[in-house]
């Protein structure tokens, strides 16, 4: 008798507990998933030959004009690629330093340097964007860059550097001098 009452009591408590949890109201939940939001990319790549592309800050040096002299001229190309689907604008800044390097007996010391006599022309996709003597170059830090032009997503562009030394401009002062320069290329997204 005692155990029967106890059993009923336990059943009552259990039923009461279940009711409190699940009998509050009806509801049903469904979901819509697999909805994607993805981001585009804007990544600049650089090439010497429009074939092998480098990514990052360790692009090997490619512009080497060799030995120069009065009456010399040369040119070289660098290619840029906008990997991604966003329109961009290419900028360039360049730092250079002068090294006396070797001083042959014939070198004079009149104050003229290689930067005074090298005349540079920079083209972007064959359009001239800057020309002048290297000594007049001012685009030398990230806050002051030369705007080369647009580079749309998935496209490549060609930067051509032409340099020359006029036969009549340069004298023995520049003999043995060496110019070392770092070229920085920057791609910035433009608003569509």
């Amino acid at each position: 008798m005692k155990s029967g009452i106890l059993a009923l009591l336990v059943v009552g408590v259990v039923l009461f507990g279940l009711g409190a949890g699940t009998w509050a109201y009806f509801d049903d939940t469904e979901s819509s998933t697999g909805n994607y939001i993805t981001a585009d990319i804007l990544n600049l790549k650089v090439s010497h030959d429009n074939s092998t592309w480098y990514d990052g800050t360790d692009v090997p040096s490619s512009i080497d004009f060799g030995m120069v002299y009065p009456g010399w001229s040369g040119s070289d190309n660098v290619y840029v690629m906008n990997e991604g689907g966003l329109p961009g604008e290419v900028y360039l800044y360049l730092n250079y330093s002068l090294d006396e390097n070797i001083n042959p007996e014939s070198e004079t010391n009149g104050g003229q340097t290689l930067a005074d006599v090298i005349y540079v022309k920079i083209y972007y996709n064959d359009a001239l964007v800057w020309e002048g003597y290297l000594k007049d170059w001012t685009y030398d830090d990230p806050g002051n860059m030369l705007d080369l032009g647009p580079l749309n997503g998935g496209k490549t562009g060609k930067i051509t550097v032409e340099a020359s030394i006029d036969y009549n401009d340069a004298g023995n002062d520049i003999q043995g001098d060496k110019l070392i320069f770092d070229v920085h290329l920057y791609l910035k997204q433009v608003q569509e």
Partner: protein, 252 residues
């Protein structure tokens, strides 16, 4: 609770007492069978312009300043999921909330695998992928039943949207506030009018239901905010949005 326990206790005693009393002599019992008590039902069904509501929204290759094209159903169709009550209970409300899962990727194309990158991505972790949610606004979200209710409009929480926010969240938002996807992940809309019951007649392959729903949730116009600083940390990353819809019985 105490009185309920006592009631069960009493019922036990009475049943036992009756048992002892009636088994002492002959008796006869008649039964009236076939008397039914059936419960109403709530049966929530979601569709888009196909018979299920998954993969309805695809906003691909978003970027600072860019509003990607409409990719309802990825290739076509509308920008909404359709909400049906295929049950029998008529007096219901709807609750809606959103969750996101984000992953690092190098090209914003989840179909070719998830790889870290590209080189210009300054934070190449899954954690950084969630940062894109802070920098993407949502232009419009609308809930339509017998009439359309704009919950978000012109990238801002509307007064109606604020009214339908869960009470415990109201202190975190205000009408007119710009809404990003990160905000959306913290929101829950409750008390929206529920769809009429269809009593099990819903045919999810019927164009009548797929194309002419009475109740639907639409959203559109995610746009990458363009800040004055680099946002490279979410380049190429991928987020999956899940929209949760709950149909709740109202109090009779």
């Amino acid at each position: 609770m105490r009185s309920a326990l006592f009631a069960f206790f009493l019922v036990g005693i009475v049943v036992l007492a009756v048992g002892y009393g009636t088994w002492a002599y002959f008796s006869d019992i008649e039964v009236s069978a076939g008397d039914y008590v059936t419960a109403d039902t709530l049966d929530l069904v979601l569709t888009d312009h196909t018979s299920d509501a998954n993969a309805q929204w695809g906003y691909f290759y978003i970027a600072p300043g860019r509003v990607p094209g409409v990719n309802g159903g990825y290739s076509g169709g509308d920008r909404a999921i359709h909400i049906f009550n295929n049950g029998t209970y008529p007096n219901t409300t709807v609750e809606i909330w959103f969750t996101f899962e984000c992953y690092e990727d190098n090209d914003g194309n989840y179909t070719n695998g998830l790889q870290p990158g590209p080189e210009s991505d300054t934070l190449q972790t899954n954690e950084s992928a969630y940062l894109m949610l802070n920098e993407i606004t949502l232009n419009t979200m609308e809930y339509t039943d017998s009439q359309a209710v704009r919950l978000i409009y012109d990238k801002k929480l509307t007064s109606s949207g604020y009214d339908y926010l869960a009470p415990e969240l109201k202190s975190e938002f205000s009408p007119g506030q710009e809404i990003t996807l990160a905000d959306l992940a913290r929101m829950k809309f409750v008390g929206l009018p529920g769809p009429e019951p269809l009593y099990g007649t819903l045919d999810t392959s019927s164009s009548q239901y797929l194309d002419e729903p009475n109740t639907q949730l639409s959203l559109d116009g995610p746009e990458g905010k363009m800040l004055n600083s680099s946002q490279n940390y979410w380049q190429g990353d991928v987020c999956i949005m899940t929209v949760h819809v709950r149909l709740v019985q109202s109090e009779p």
